[in-house]
């Protein structure tokens, strides 16, 4: 397919716009010198990726991305930054300026290799199921049928992360404080 054919389809304009937005926002995430700005650019990146999923007719994944990643994970980042005594202002060391040449070489190299192999492997193959709706009941049945075992195991991953995280993050009482509160 030639580029003029490709660009003549309106859906590809949407794709191009989203992809460039994701790229620009992603670039700012790693170059921003303010950690709050970086987190906000991450929101833009994730929202753009959610848009790409909508283009692929994967609305469920798109909304999971919006609800879980933008709605919960990034908000937790921001809470974490604000509640702890981490610096919120400009931090010149944050973008690791000295490592930029190495980072550029590694990421451009990786991009070249990955895009070359992927384009070569898939070429013009259409993604199956684009344009169809994904009924959520099928997803639900798969999660609680064939995939019920990993689904339950994920519960234990989260439990372990929760308990371990709390244990490591909480401030230990000094022996004196402990005595005052009574041994528990």
């Amino acid at each position: 397919m030639s580029f003029s054919d490709w660009i003549s389809q309106p859906v590809n304009w949407v794709f191009l716009g989203l992809a460039l937005a994701v790229l620009a926002a992603g670039f700012r995430v790693v170059t921003s010198q303010n950690v709050v700005h970086a987190a906000l650019f991450l929101v833009a990146t994730l929202a753009g990726v959610a848009g790409l999923f909508v283009l692929l007719s994967a609305e469920f994944v798109a909304w999971v991305l919006v609800l879980v990643y933008i709605g919960a994970v990034v908000v937790l980042f921001l809470f974490g930054i604000m509640i702890t005594r981490a610096p919120t202002g400009q931090d010149v060391g944050l973008d690791n300026r000295r490592a930029r040449p190495v980072a550029a070489v590694v990421s451009l190299g990786l991009f070249g290799v990955l895009s070359w192999t992927s384009v070569r492997a898939f070429q013009d193959t259409a993604v199956a199921g684009v344009g169809e709706r994904t009924p959520t009941d099928i997803l639900g049945e798969a999660l609680l049928g064939r995939f019920v075992f990993p689904f339950e195991v994920v519960g234990f991953v989260l439990l372990a992360a929760l308990i371990g995280g709390i244990t490591l993050a909480r401030r230990d009482l000094t022996p004196k404080e402990e005595e005052e509160r009574g041994a528990v």
């Binding site: 070569r120 492997a121 049928g145 234990f156 991953v157 041994a183």
Partner: protein
């Protein structure tokens, strides 16, 4: 949907134990917190019962969830290993964790979660199940490595392990995503048939996917050149956690790697075979050379475990570069893995007790330990000589199986790997024997009294079990070869 409950009974027992530990930790007063360890031990023991029932039953292979979870003899042997290793680590943790103001209930909860993850890995025949299993195995360990919150080295251990662990997980997941993309399947047998005859255009992507998966797992098993997190993490983490890291989590990483490459990617052995060869040769050589220069006993064991990982890979890597007798190579590797687990756990139990006796982790500080505490000195000699592969201790049988398989593979590349392994076995003897020499032949510092107080009962039990296993397997290896046979029969059909 029919579920074979017996097949997932070990996982269910461990899961219920985890919840039991959590509940017990809430209600127990501090002086009785050690009951959580008792609960963990009981749970791990009960989980072995369904394994024995399955091993005795006539059903060869139990396949669940449309073939994504398979319990066969291979899985049974490894689940047994993971449960026993978890059991020994809990035992050696009791006095260590109790002696300081650690969070005991949470500690055992995280340890059991990691054991549960490794049980899942042993049966996973599906990318999704395997990945979740790997996550559950390593996730709790990031936190356990930093369990000594007040110690800066423990914080460093945890942080290094976490950052590199997450990076390796990302690479692994990327590789898995590419495998899924190119084959359109997540189940290993379906991936295998989908990749049997890929279009030439897809070849580079398949190669890249296999490379990413290999690198991801190489981080998990700390194979050279992806090992640099291991020594610092091992040194900073609480010693029982280090023992667990160097045995169970390493074994789980190996099992995940073997299952993936053997079941899903067996036809592409031309791509991953040389990769395994390089990992094995580099791990043995660099691990051993670095171990020679260590003065701290835990760092010595860290590098020794990197080198042992190389030895472990030798039979399977030799078979894969030769392109034949893969099942035999894998069986030999599993035998090595199981023996290594037992003797290395014993060595770490010695380190815990030795550090308590001498108050130092420096090897030179252990001078004359054999006279201060003769029983501990004997055990130190047993485990370290076994790691070196001296008959009649279990380690010699592991090395014997390894060389036999590598030479049987036959090709020039396989034989050269066996030669590299032989040179390294000699180098390794030097630093293992040095520990025994310091313990027995160096003069004890002036004023050292013969030890009178016995070690904690739980630690003594760990030492006893590991020592008996090391000696019995060394003297009657036939007992043990049965397990290797089980692995071979099963995987040959798979």
């Amino acid at each position: 949907m029919q579920i074979d409950w017996l097949a997932i009974a070990p996982e269910i027992v461990v899961a219920v134990t985890i919840l039991g530990v959590l509940a017990a930790d809430l209600v127990l007063p501090r002086p009785l917190k050690y009951w959580t360890a008792t609960l963990a031990v009981v749970g791990l023991t009960l989980a072995v019962v369904p394994l024995i029932l399955m091993a005795a039953s006539s059903v060869e292979t139990r396949s669940l969830f449309e073939g994504s979870y398979v319990v066969d003899d291979f899985a049974l042997v490894l689940k047994g290993l993971f449960l026993i290793a978890g059991y020994l680590v809990v035992l050696m943790s009791v006095s260590y964790i109790e002696s300081d103001r650690y969070y005991q209930g949470e500690y055992y909860l995280l340890l059991l979660s990691s054991v549960l993850g490794s049980l899942v890995i042993a049966s996973a025949r599906d990318l999704i199940v395997l990945f979740i299993g790997v996550e559950l195995t390593t996730g709790p360990l990031f936190m356990l490595a930093g369990w000594r919150k007040g110690d800066i080295r423990s914080n460093e251990a945890s942080l290094k392990f976490f950052i590199l662990g997450v990076l390796s997980t990302a690479i692994l997941l990327w590789g898995m995503a590419m495998l899924y993309g190119v084959s359109g399947e997540v189940r290993f047998d379906q991936i295998r048939s989908a990749l049997a005859d890929p279009s030439p255009a897809a070849q580079p992507l398949v190669g890249l996917a296999i490379l990413f998966v290999l690198v991801g797992f190489a981080f998990k098993v700390s194979a050279v050149p992806f090992h640099f997190w291991a020594p610092d993490t091992y040194e900073g983490a609480p010693t029982p956690v280090t023992a667990y890291l160097s045995v169970s989590s390493k074994a789980a990483g190996f099992v995940a790697l073997f299952v993936t490459v053997y079941v899903a990617l067996r036809d592409r052995v031309d791509i991953w075979g040389p990769g395994l060869w390089a990992l094995a040769a580099l791990s043995m050589t660099i691990g051993n050379l670095a171990a020679l220069r260590q003065s701290n006993i835990v760092r010595l064991l860290a590098y020794s475990s990197i080198a042992q990982a190389g030895f472990m890979l030798v039979p399977f890597a030799a078979a894969s570069v030769a392109g034949e007798q893969l099942a035999e190579g894998l069986a030999a590797t599993v035998v090595y893995l199981v023996i290594y687990a037992l003797m290395n756990l014993g060595a770490f139990a010695v380190v815990i007790q030795g550090a308590r006796r001498t108050g130092t982790g420096d090897i030179d500080g252990w001078a004359g330990l054999g006279r201060i505490d003769p029983r501990l000195g004997v055990l130190a000699a047993v485990f370290f000589f076994s790691l070196a592969g001296i008959p009649p201790l279990a380690g010699w049988f592991a090395k014997f199986v390894m060389f036999r398989a590598a030479i049987a593979a036959g090709s020039a590349a396989a034989t050269s790997l066996a030669v590299i392994a032989a040179i390294n076995a000699v180098i390794a003897l030097y630093y293992y024997a040095r520990v025994a020499k310091v313990v027995w032949f160096d003069e004890a510092p002036a004023g050292a009294e013969p030890a009178t107080e016995p070690p904690a009962a739980s630690l003594a039990l760990t030492l006893g079990i590991a020592a008996v296993a090391t000696v019995v397997v060394g003297v009657f290896p036939a007992v043990f070869a049965v397990f290797g046979e089980a692995t071979r029969v099963l995987l040959a059909s798979g």
